[in-house]
Subunit: 221 residues, 2 copies
């Protein structure tokens, strides 16, 4: 790890993103196995491979920085595995909601953080979280399931709230354990940072976006 | 399904190939979950996504022919699922051997059949079974495992023979159930076909290639 705190924070950030994408790939593979039709399976498999493509971009960048993806990802394996273990979908619909809502929260969070980064790293983060066009598939599947059986909505609304809660608690744990990341957020990276008021506003914006996504699915946040 | 027996055979062939790739994707996803290191996981995930890319090419071709991938794949879901159920790897190494040896047998078989196809379909089949560069990874992992523990070789050699046996019996079952495919092999497609002597030679060549792959892994065929 480099001595420069900003460089260390970037490596941490790329490491957590890379492991996030690799575990998203694995999670979507498991979802694909639950798909009710072959077309659904293919759609979720395409989402999995899109995540894996992002992982490969992040790994390339880490290699450019002289760090192996394996080393950069290692500190984040336990917390991200814990997140996925505590939010293992019970069925196909819960998997779809997790893919859409969970990835949405992560994307919002990292996009917010990206303003603290240098241009090149920011461009990579924005690209990795760019729209892959899969949201429309999830929204249409979830909405038609609710139409077919309105009782599904209550269960999925609870599920969405749990995802938000677990995501926040894991994010706090990671920030508390990784000094470089915490310093980046607080402005120690030299690119400016966020004070407590700004952090509070950021979480408000993320919560608002979450509410919008739940509404798009036809669910109460 | 079209009335023209050759067109029906092509759709059957693309259907079995497409489902083969989609189930290879799923199987490699399951293997990735067993990987001992993050680098190994990423390598197998890349293999999974390469297979999914092939699936997408085959699906495009089916759509061009006016058939949904779902319809074309359906007759082959049960036999291919049965093959995978009867050859579920017990661990990471068995998964790697299956990916290399099993896909090798399939690739040899479809490459042999491709001589009976029109130029465009043949080009697609050859592309889908082109070398994705992943064989070297499997060979090196299996050889170093045998070096570390020579007893592994006996178990994996048995495993390789079982894969060959199950592949042949499934291929026979599929050919027996799908008249169009059987007719293509026998020359009913109008592009010439294989008589029993040629069929026998084809199986001899496939067996020889299998023996070479087992030897590359350091295993007795």
């Amino acid at each position: 790890m480099p001595d420069d705190p900003y460089a260390a924070a970037v490596i941490d950030l790329l490491g957590v993103l890379a492991y996030g994408e690799l575990s998203a790939f694995e999670r979507l593979c498991a979802d694909a196995a639950l798909a009710p039709t072959l077309d659904d399976k293919a759609e979720v498999a395409a989402m999995a491979c899109a995540e894996f493509g992002h992982f490969q971009q992040l790994r390339e960048k880490l290699i450019d920085l002289g760090v192996s993806a394996d080393d950069a990802m290692r500190p984040f394996v336990a917390p991200l595995d814990a997140f996925h273990a505590s939010t293992a979908p019970a069925d196909w619909l819960e998997g779809l909601v997790k893919a859409y809502v969970g990835d949405g929260i992560a994307a919002d969070f990292y996009r917010e953080i990206s303003v603290l980064l240098d241009d090149e790293t920011r461009a990579l983060v924005l690209e990795v979280f760019g729209d892959t066009g899969h949201a429309a598939f999830v929204v249409s599947k979830v909405r038609s399931s609710i139409e077919a059986d309105p009782r599904v909505a209550g269960r999925l609304a609870l599920w969405g709230r749990r995802l938000m809660g677990e995501a926040l608690s894991q994010a706090q744990r990671v920030a508390a354990e990784r000094d470089a990341l915490a310093a980046l957020l607080a402005g120690g990276g030299g690119n400016g940072g966020m004070d407590l008021v700004e952090l509070g506003r950021m979480f408000t914006r993320i919560t608002e976006q979450h509410t919008k996504r739940m509404a798009a699915l036809g669910l109460a946040a």
